[in-house]
Protein backbone atom coordinates (compact mmCIF):
# COMPACT_ATOMS: atom_id res chain seq x y z
CA UNK A 1 0.00 0.00 0.00
CA UNK A 2 1.32 3.39 -0.85
CA UNK A 3 0.01 6.42 0.97
CA UNK A 4 0.16 9.92 -0.35
CA UNK A 5 0.37 12.51 2.32
CA UNK A 6 0.10 16.13 1.40
CA UNK A 7 0.08 18.10 4.56
CA UNK A 8 2.04 20.28 6.86
CA UNK A 9 5.29 18.99 8.22
CA UNK A 10 7.16 20.12 11.28
CA UNK A 11 10.55 21.73 11.11
CA UNK A 12 13.25 19.14 11.23
CA UNK A 13 16.80 18.56 10.12
CA UNK A 14 15.40 17.45 6.79
CA UNK A 15 13.72 20.69 5.76
CA UNK A 16 15.08 22.53 2.75
CA UNK A 17 16.60 25.97 2.82
CA UNK A 18 14.61 28.81 4.33
CA UNK A 19 13.92 30.39 0.98
CA UNK A 20 11.95 27.30 -0.04
CA UNK A 21 10.29 26.71 3.30
CA UNK A 22 7.84 29.57 2.90
CA UNK A 23 6.64 28.40 -0.52
CA UNK A 24 6.19 24.90 0.82
CA UNK A 25 4.07 26.19 3.65
CA UNK A 26 1.93 28.01 1.10
CA UNK A 27 1.36 24.87 -0.90
CA UNK A 28 0.60 22.77 2.14
CA UNK A 29 -1.74 25.39 3.43
CA UNK A 30 -3.40 25.55 0.04
CA UNK A 31 -4.17 21.87 -0.39
CA UNK A 32 -4.85 21.09 3.26
CA UNK A 33 -8.39 22.33 2.85
CA UNK A 34 -11.25 20.31 1.40
CA UNK A 35 -12.91 23.24 -0.35
CA UNK A 36 -9.72 24.26 -2.08
CA UNK A 37 -9.01 20.70 -3.15
CA UNK A 38 -12.51 20.57 -4.54
CA UNK A 39 -11.86 23.78 -6.46
CA UNK A 40 -8.64 22.40 -7.93
CA UNK A 41 -10.51 19.27 -8.96
CA UNK A 42 -13.19 21.22 -10.76
CA UNK A 43 -10.68 23.41 -12.52
CA UNK A 44 -9.21 20.33 -14.19
CA UNK A 45 -12.08 20.47 -16.66
CA UNK A 46 -11.29 24.01 -17.67
CA UNK A 47 -11.13 27.54 -16.30
CA UNK A 48 -13.99 28.98 -14.26
CA UNK A 49 -14.85 32.45 -13.14
CA UNK A 50 -14.84 33.09 -9.42
CA UNK A 51 -18.64 33.23 -9.48
CA UNK A 52 -18.88 29.85 -11.20
CA UNK A 53 -16.29 28.43 -8.85
CA UNK A 54 -18.31 29.63 -5.86
CA UNK A 55 -21.60 28.08 -6.94
CA UNK A 56 -21.58 24.68 -5.17
CA UNK A 57 -20.22 25.92 -1.87
CA UNK A 58 -22.38 27.11 0.99
CA UNK A 59 -20.27 30.16 1.73
CA UNK A 60 -20.06 33.83 0.88
CA UNK A 61 -18.37 35.06 -2.25
CA UNK A 62 -15.89 36.75 0.04
CA UNK A 63 -14.95 33.45 1.63
CA UNK A 64 -14.58 31.89 -1.81
CA UNK A 65 -12.41 34.78 -2.90
CA UNK A 66 -10.08 34.15 0.03
CA UNK A 67 -9.71 30.52 -0.99
CA UNK A 68 -8.94 31.56 -4.53
CA UNK A 69 -6.27 33.97 -3.31
CA UNK A 70 -4.67 31.23 -1.23
CA UNK A 71 -4.50 28.92 -4.25
CA UNK A 72 -3.07 31.70 -6.34
CA UNK A 73 -0.37 32.56 -3.83
CA UNK A 74 0.66 28.90 -3.78
CA UNK A 75 1.06 28.96 -7.57
CA UNK A 76 -1.61 26.34 -8.12
CA UNK A 77 -3.95 28.54 -10.11
CA UNK A 78 -3.59 31.61 -12.22
CA UNK A 79 -6.11 34.38 -12.51
CA UNK A 80 -6.82 36.60 -15.45
CA UNK A 81 -9.32 39.41 -15.80
CA UNK A 82 -11.92 39.14 -18.56
CA UNK A 83 -13.96 42.29 -18.53
CA UNK A 84 -15.46 42.34 -15.04
CA UNK A 85 -14.97 38.68 -14.28
CA UNK A 86 -11.89 37.03 -12.85
CA UNK A 87 -11.17 33.78 -14.61
CA UNK A 88 -9.27 31.08 -12.71
CA UNK A 89 -7.16 28.56 -14.50
CA UNK A 90 -5.41 25.55 -13.01
CA UNK A 91 -1.68 25.40 -13.41
CA UNK A 92 -2.13 21.92 -14.83
CA UNK A 93 1.48 21.38 -15.79
CA UNK A 94 2.58 21.79 -12.22
CA UNK A 95 -0.02 19.42 -10.81
CA UNK A 96 0.41 16.90 -13.63
CA UNK A 97 4.12 16.78 -13.25
CA UNK A 98 3.78 16.26 -9.51
CA UNK A 99 1.24 13.52 -10.14
CA UNK A 100 3.43 11.85 -12.75
CA UNK A 101 6.41 11.99 -10.44
CA UNK A 102 4.42 10.46 -7.61
CA UNK A 103 3.19 7.62 -9.81
CA UNK A 104 6.65 6.96 -11.16
CA UNK A 105 8.31 6.70 -7.78
CA UNK A 106 5.46 4.81 -6.21
CA UNK A 107 5.98 2.10 -8.82
CA UNK A 108 9.74 2.44 -8.63
CA UNK A 109 10.05 1.91 -4.89
CA UNK A 110 7.37 -0.78 -4.80
CA UNK A 111 9.27 -2.90 -7.29
CA UNK A 112 12.64 -2.21 -5.66
CA UNK A 113 11.37 -3.19 -2.25
CA UNK A 114 9.99 -6.43 -3.71
CA UNK A 115 13.39 -7.12 -5.19
CA UNK A 116 15.09 -6.23 -1.89
CA UNK A 117 12.90 -8.74 -0.11
CA UNK A 118 13.83 -11.47 -2.60
CA UNK A 119 17.46 -10.54 -2.21
CA UNK A 120 17.29 -10.81 1.57
CA UNK A 121 15.47 -14.15 1.42
CA UNK A 122 18.11 -15.54 -0.93
CA UNK A 123 20.86 -14.26 1.31
CA UNK A 124 19.39 -15.96 4.35
CA UNK A 125 19.01 -19.25 2.51
CA UNK A 126 22.61 -19.12 1.44
CA UNK A 127 23.54 -18.53 5.03
CA UNK A 128 25.76 -15.62 4.15
CA UNK A 129 25.78 -12.29 6.02
Amino acid sequence: MVEYNIGAREESAMTPTDSHAKSLDLVFGAVADATRRSMLDRLRDGPLTVTELARPYAMSLNAVSKHVKTLERAGLIRRSINGREHSCRLDAARLEEASEWMNYYSAFWTSRMDALENHLVKKRRRGTK
Binding site: M1, V2, E3, Y4, N5, I6, G7, R9, A13, M14, P16, H20, S23, L24, L26, V27, F28, A30, V31, A74, G75, L76, D91, R94, L95, E97, A98, W101, M102, Y104, Y105, S106, F108, W109, T110, S111, R112, M113, A115, L116, E117, N118, H119, L120, V121, K123, R124, K129
Partner: protein
Amino acid sequence: MLPASCEEVYDAWLDADGMREWMRPGPVTGCQVAMEPRVGGHFRIEMASPGGPIVNTGVFRILDRPAMLQFTWTSSRWAFQETLVTVELYPREGNCELVLTHERFPLAYSAKQLTAGWTQILQHLGSHLD
Protein backbone atom coordinates in the same frame (compact mmCIF):
# COMPACT_ATOMS: atom_id res chain seq x y z
CA MET B 1 7.64 -6.46 6.53
CA LEU B 2 11.04 -7.66 5.42
CA PRO B 3 12.15 -11.13 6.53
CA ALA B 4 15.44 -9.96 7.98
CA SER B 5 16.81 -8.05 10.95
CA CYS B 6 17.07 -4.28 10.76
CA GLU B 7 20.84 -4.69 10.72
CA GLU B 8 20.64 -6.90 7.63
CA VAL B 9 18.28 -4.53 5.88
CA TYR B 10 20.39 -1.50 6.76
CA ASP B 11 23.54 -3.20 5.51
CA ALA B 12 21.80 -4.14 2.27
CA TRP B 13 21.31 -0.46 1.50
CA LEU B 14 25.04 0.19 1.81
CA ASP B 15 26.20 -2.92 -0.01
CA ALA B 16 27.00 -1.91 -3.60
CA ASP B 17 27.34 -5.51 -4.83
CA GLY B 18 24.02 -6.59 -3.38
CA MET B 19 22.30 -3.44 -4.56
CA ARG B 20 23.20 -4.29 -8.14
CA GLU B 21 20.75 -7.16 -7.81
CA TRP B 22 17.77 -5.43 -6.32
CA MET B 23 17.97 -1.97 -7.86
CA ARG B 24 17.35 -3.33 -11.33
CA PRO B 25 13.98 -2.61 -12.85
CA GLY B 26 12.16 -5.58 -14.43
CA PRO B 27 13.37 -5.77 -18.01
CA VAL B 28 16.75 -4.35 -17.19
CA THR B 29 19.88 -5.92 -18.53
CA GLY B 30 22.42 -4.45 -16.19
CA CYS B 31 22.97 -2.28 -13.21
CA GLN B 32 26.08 -0.63 -11.87
CA VAL B 33 26.43 0.72 -8.38
CA ALA B 34 29.22 2.79 -6.91
CA MET B 35 29.04 4.28 -3.46
CA GLU B 36 30.94 5.82 -0.61
CA PRO B 37 29.00 4.54 2.40
CA ARG B 38 29.60 7.43 4.79
CA VAL B 39 27.90 10.69 5.65
CA GLY B 40 28.71 13.10 2.85
CA GLY B 41 29.65 10.21 0.59
CA HIS B 42 28.33 9.98 -2.96
CA PHE B 43 26.62 7.15 -4.76
CA ARG B 44 25.84 6.49 -8.39
CA ILE B 45 23.45 3.90 -9.71
CA GLU B 46 23.29 3.32 -13.41
CA MET B 47 20.54 1.12 -14.78
CA ALA B 48 20.38 -0.08 -18.34
CA SER B 49 16.80 -0.20 -19.53
CA PRO B 50 15.00 -0.53 -22.86
CA GLY B 51 14.43 3.21 -22.90
CA GLY B 52 18.10 3.94 -22.39
CA PRO B 53 20.33 4.24 -19.35
CA ILE B 54 18.92 5.79 -16.20
CA VAL B 55 21.38 7.40 -13.86
CA ASN B 56 20.69 8.11 -10.21
CA THR B 57 23.10 9.97 -8.01
CA GLY B 58 23.04 11.31 -4.50
CA VAL B 59 24.77 12.04 -1.25
CA PHE B 60 24.30 10.28 2.07
CA ARG B 61 23.06 12.68 4.72
CA ILE B 62 22.17 10.49 7.65
CA LEU B 63 23.54 7.04 8.33
CA ASP B 64 22.28 5.72 11.64
CA ARG B 65 22.65 1.97 11.83
CA PRO B 66 20.34 0.14 12.10
CA ALA B 67 17.51 2.66 12.31
CA MET B 68 17.76 5.19 9.52
CA LEU B 69 19.33 6.15 6.24
CA GLN B 70 18.78 9.41 4.50
CA PHE B 71 20.20 10.49 1.18
CA THR B 72 19.58 12.93 -1.59
CA TRP B 73 18.41 11.38 -4.84
CA THR B 74 18.54 12.75 -8.34
CA SER B 75 17.54 11.01 -11.53
CA SER B 76 18.41 11.54 -15.16
CA ARG B 77 14.75 10.74 -15.78
CA TRP B 78 13.71 13.84 -13.82
CA ALA B 79 16.31 16.33 -14.96
CA PHE B 80 18.49 15.60 -11.93
CA GLN B 81 16.19 17.57 -9.70
CA GLU B 82 17.28 16.93 -6.14
CA THR B 83 14.92 15.00 -3.92
CA LEU B 84 15.30 13.43 -0.50
CA VAL B 85 14.81 9.80 0.46
CA THR B 86 14.52 8.69 4.06
CA VAL B 87 14.52 5.02 5.00
CA GLU B 88 13.42 4.17 8.52
CA LEU B 89 13.76 0.68 9.90
CA TYR B 90 11.69 -0.70 12.76
CA PRO B 91 12.34 -4.05 14.42
CA ARG B 92 9.27 -6.28 14.47
CA GLU B 93 9.94 -9.58 16.25
CA GLY B 94 12.94 -10.62 14.22
CA ASN B 95 11.67 -8.96 11.05
CA CYS B 96 12.09 -5.42 9.85
CA GLU B 97 9.45 -2.92 8.88
CA LEU B 98 10.76 -0.47 6.33
CA VAL B 99 9.21 2.96 5.82
CA LEU B 100 10.47 4.89 2.84
CA THR B 101 9.69 8.56 2.41
CA HIS B 102 10.52 10.31 -0.81
CA GLU B 103 10.24 14.08 -0.76
CA ARG B 104 10.46 16.44 -3.63
CA PHE B 105 11.29 20.05 -3.10
CA PRO B 106 9.83 22.84 -5.17
CA LEU B 107 11.70 24.15 -8.16
CA ALA B 108 11.73 27.79 -8.98
CA TYR B 109 10.03 27.78 -12.37
CA SER B 110 10.56 31.47 -12.66
CA ALA B 111 11.59 34.35 -10.50
CA LYS B 112 7.94 35.06 -9.73
CA GLN B 113 6.50 31.61 -9.34
CA LEU B 114 7.34 28.91 -6.85
CA THR B 115 6.07 25.44 -7.50
CA ALA B 116 3.78 23.18 -5.59
CA GLY B 117 5.99 20.18 -5.75
CA TRP B 118 6.45 18.71 -2.33
CA THR B 119 4.97 15.28 -2.26
CA GLN B 120 5.45 12.73 0.43
CA ILE B 121 5.25 9.05 -0.28
CA LEU B 122 5.02 6.62 2.56
CA GLN B 123 5.48 3.03 1.71
CA HIS B 124 4.56 0.29 4.14
CA LEU B 125 5.89 -2.98 2.91
CA GLY B 126 3.87 -5.09 5.28
CA SER B 127 0.58 -3.89 3.82
CA HIS B 128 1.95 -4.06 0.29
CA LEU B 129 2.91 -7.67 0.64
CA ASP B 130 -0.47 -8.73 2.03
